[in-house]
């Protein structure tokens, strides 16, 4: 058997990853969360739903904390994410060297000479780190917002050099401003080389303009499709953006303004007259776009859709829109309105694949290095940074229903401890609850995964169906856990 260089590198990465898990076992154990000292209670359905909007699946200890301090204090605590001690998670991520590299270094380690690039290493490290943060970071709301903006400013890493530039975008655009100001977020994204490559602005020249980024900046990033811009506005904004480009030599992968391909004429965008001013022409338009009423409404609607319901209540959207305008797009202020006024009205949403996997891991205090999860996500349709169109992974429930088989398979393999470097703590958890009966254990398990015990009739029917397949009580509990994770109810949050 001959191994290509790429195979060899992949193999190397696998060996490193498994060695890492073995040597970091205590960290993983700490990260997986302390076992509760007393048995947990069923949770009020609304609190359970609310907490699952604010996290990637509520851990037992988060439930206790949430019950103790209440929604308002919980949100403020999460907003002040810098004050949340996340030391263990940071230690774990310190071995992911590419997360801190600039574009030039990332290109260097991907370049295997003769235009042969390792297009897997850098993206896979970013994917793995993203999952580990979602799984283990105590700054859950911050990570939820990172996910939200990663969709809003979606970048498909398979296009061109996006495979290594996205790592810079993730750090300098999304993570830097996820709970900051919307204006800074759009500003950073507009100057992000990954975005320029993805939406073709590097091909936008005076002699042959390319409208792709100009259009999406208004349609998807700020105003929204019905936000009041015309085709003429798209063309004029594209003219302003000519010359916004990416360095191809020295400090390769950095932003550069190329004056020689910039269209120096006067432009008219959205009623503004833009005098020739090189790079600052488009920047003037960006400043205008980020405080536009259409933008305020569009962003508020999307946030309300993510946190409240696919069709969010109009009055909440109105109030959030007004707050957006009053605060010039302060993300925390807008979010505060949506969460405090809106969460009590929240409707169930279908879990996206990553949320499905992560919630099942978090709710059972699992230890995982997350590397083996990519393959499941790929089959479920949400391998991170792999969505080709600029609208990002869909948020609405309807988009995700209908691909059950990989979810069932995941549930079954996960509970049977068949996923590489991934292990749940079901047994230890049930030792704490110590109900002393099978039905008691099933109720405790359902409280963990679904928030509350099953109705008695349903529980008995489920147990009877498993018993009819000749299972002893230890097997029965595992199958109950797997089938609860596979069940319709667990697909919703």
């Amino acid at each position: 058997m001959t191994l290509s260089r790429r195979d060899f590198l992949k193999l190397g990465a696998l060996v490193t990853a498994s060695a890492a898990l073995a040597s970091c076992a205590p960290i993983y154990r700490r990260l997986a969360g302390d076992l509760p000292s007393v048995p947990w209670q069923a949770m009020n359905a609304h609190d359970f739903l609310a907490l699952n909007r604010l996290t990637f699946g509520s851990r037992v200890e988060e439930r206790a904390h949430f019950a103790e301090i209440g929604l308002k204090a919980y949100i403020e605590e999460q907003f002040a994410y810098d004050s949340i001690n996340d030391f263990d998670c940071e230690i774990l991520l310190s071995s992911f060297k590419t997360l801190k590299m600039d574009a030039n270094e990332l290109e260097g380690i991907s370049n295997q000479l003769f235009e042969n690039y390792d297009r897997e290493k850098v993206p896979n490290e970013l994917r793995q780190a993203t999952l580990l943060r979602q799984l283990y970071s105590k700054r859950q709301l911050y990570e939820v917002m990172v996910e939200f903006w990663s969709d809003h400013f979606n970048i498909f890493i398979e296009k061109g050099n996006g495979f290594y530039l996205k790592t810079v975008d993730d750090r300098e655009v999304i993570r830097k401003h996820a709970l900051g100001s919307f204006r800074d977020l759009v500003w950073a994204s507009a100057h992000s080389p990954a975005m320029m490559i993805y939406l073709d602005n590097q091909a936008n020249e005076k002699s042959h303009p390319n409208e792709n980024y100009a259009r999406e900046l208004m349609e998807l990033h700020t105003l929204g499709v019905n936000g009041g811009y015309s085709q003429q506005d798209v063309m004029e904004l594209a003219r302003c953006l000519t010359g916004w480009n990416v360095k191809e030599h020295f400090w390769l992968g950095d932003f550069v303004f190329k004056a020689d391909i910039h269209d120096t004429g006067e432009k008219k965008v959205l009623g503004l007259t833009i005098q020739p001013a090189d790079q600052s022409e488009a920047e003037q338009v960006i400043e205008y776009l980020v405080t536009h009423p259409s933008t305020a409404r569009f962003i508020s609607t999307k946030l309300a859709r993510r946190f409240i319901a696919d069709e969010p209540p109009q009055d909440i959207v109105e109030k959030a829109t007004q707050t957006f305008l009053d605060t010039q797009g302060d993300i925390q202020s807008v979010l505060r309105v949506i969460l405090l006024d809106g969460l009590s009205l929240a409707q169930p949403k279908y879990k996206r694949p990553a949320n499905f996997i992560l919630s099942s891991l978090r709710m059972l205090n699992a230890e995982s290095d997350a590397a083996a999860l990519h393959d499941y996500l790929l089959r479920m349709g949400q391998l991170y940074f792999n969505w080709p169109t600029p609208d990002g992974y869909p948020d609405r429930s309807i988009a995700w229903q209908g691909n059950l088989m990989p979810r069932w398979q995941f549930a079954f393999e996960y509970i049977r401890d068949e996923i590489k470097n991934t292990k749940h703590n079901l047994k230890a958890l049930l030792d704490v609850s110590a109900t002393g009966s099978l039905t008691g254990d099933v109720d405790a398990l359902a409280s963990l995964l679904l928030g509350a015990p099953l109705e008695r009739g349903i529980r008995d029917e489920l147990l009877a169906s498993i018993r009819s397949a000749d299972a002893n009580s230890e097997e029965t509990l595992l199958i109950v856990a797997a089938s609860l994770i596979a069940s319709p109810a667990f697909q919703w949050r």
């Binding site: 359905a45 169930p348 479920m380 309807i398 209908g402 069932w408 489920l462 397949a469 919703w492």
Partner: protein, 397 residues
């Protein structure tokens, strides 16, 4: 409300029809990765220039008295002939279910594998334009009412770029990957529990049915019709599993298969050697699939393609360098087969382009558009191949 296993508020699945039509054929796309040397696959033996540019690698004429019979090209139409290692396809050719389009390809002249494959799989002219794949856009633009999790599959560890888009597709290494796994005992327990939690759910019950169907399928024990023998290779396995899924009626509409190893810069082999081995694998696989699926051929369209062709002249290492024009094969029950389609640009002086490459006289999108329109009920080719106006060549009935 969380105490039900089956939530009462679960919305019913309803798709907004983009473009609704019943599904057409099962489409199988075989991509020869690395730029196949098509001049040695479908040999223009009727052209003297071929033998001038290929003094060592050239395949002897079907009637060449100076070479052994088994080394000669297998005549197709008096001008073109198959490489002798593709002998197994002759029967398919004679059945008129195989068409060849020579000098076919994309306008891109970068001669870069990466760039050409990316553009071809996205179905676009240059790097701007939609980032999704052409098959992905086909699936997204046609609502066939098919909610099967196996509507489209990419054989291998990840779905091909051509499949990427808003419709979820599955990568399939082996049908057995889709078995729930575990021992029979645990599986029975899980099956029973799933049936209980999904008892009132149509989608769940559909998925259980597919799962049960796949649970019984195993490529190791599969008996092909007509004693067809799939080659014992990755390609053979991919075709065999495609055949199994079609016969099992699990809703398969598209299967994408890759065959690697075609980048033959060095010692590619004339009659025997590395490239002839690849050709034999390809031909034997396609012939086995055709024999196995003969009763289903009316609902199958198969296409082979490669990112570009290779230089007309052989190089100094008995290989060939990156060229331009390629070749496509279309196989199926509704193909205008037994014919080499397309205009032959010739290999003579003044006929080659760039550094000495076969010209492209048929755009690959002409062929794919025809397949989409005539066999897959999808008329949205303007969306699937943006900024391209296809020329229908009547490769299909």
């Amino acid at each position: 409300m969380f105490t039900q296993v089956m939530p009462t508020w679960m919305p019913r699945l309803s798709f907004a029809p983009v473009n609704a039509a019943p599904r057409g054929d099962t489409l199988i796309v075989v991509f020869l990765r690395g730029a196949a040397d098509v001049l040695n696959m479908v040999v223009p033996h009727g052209e003297d220039a071929y033998y001038q540019v290929r003094p060592s690698l050239g395949i002897p004429r079907p009637d060449d008295p100076h070479s052994k019979k088994e080394n000669r090209a297998l005549d197709l139409d008096g001008f073109f002939g198959f490489h002798p290692s593709m002998r197994s396809l002759i029967e398919v050719w004679q059945s008129q279910q195989l068409a060849i389009i020579h000098a076919c390809g994309a306008p891109d002249e970068s001669r870069s594998h990466f760039k050409s494959m990316e553009l071809m799989e996205r179905g676009v002219d240059d790097e701007s334009g939609p980032a999704s794949g052409w098959i992905g856009r086909h699936l997204a633009s046609l609502n066939t009412g098919n909610t099967s999790p196996l509507r489209a599959i990419g054989m291998g560890t990840r779905p091909q770029r051509s499949l990427s888009g808003s419709v979820p597709v599955s990568a399939l290494r082996s049908i057995t990957d889709f078995h729930l796994g575990g021992d029979a005992h645990a599986l029975q327990q899980m099956r029973s529990a799933l049936n209980a939690v999904y008892q009132n759910d149509v989608m769940g019950q559909d998925t259980l049915t597919i799962m049960d169907t796949l649970e019984k399928l195993d490529p190791l024990t599969y008996a092909a019709s007509r004693n067809a023998k799939y080659p014992d290779t990755e390609f053979g396995l991919a075709l065999k599993q495609t055949a199994m899924l079609i016969k099992a009626e699990v809703g398969l509409e598209v299967s994408a298969i890759d065959v690697g190893g075609w980048d033959t810069h060095f010692a590619q082999g004339s009659v025997l050697g590395q490239m002839p081995n690849l050709m034999k694998d390809l031909a034997d696989g396609l012939a086995a699939f055709h024999a196995d699926m003969l009763d289903h051929m009316n609902q199958i369209t198969m296409v082979t393609m490669s990112e570009f062709g290779r230089r007309a002249s052989e190089n100094g290492s008995l290989g060939t360098d990156h060229g331009h024009g390629s070749m496509m094969m279309v196989l199926g029950g509704n193909v205008n087969g037994g014919k080499v389609h397309g205009e032959w640009p010739g290999l003579g002086e003044g006929q080659l382009i760039g550094p000495g490459d076969l010209a492209v006289t048929t755009d690959y999108r002409d062929i794919l558009s025809e397949v989409l329109q005539k066999r897959l009920n999808n008329l949205a080719t303007a969306e699937i191949f943006p900024n391209y106006q296809p020329n229908i060549k009547n490769v299909l009935m």
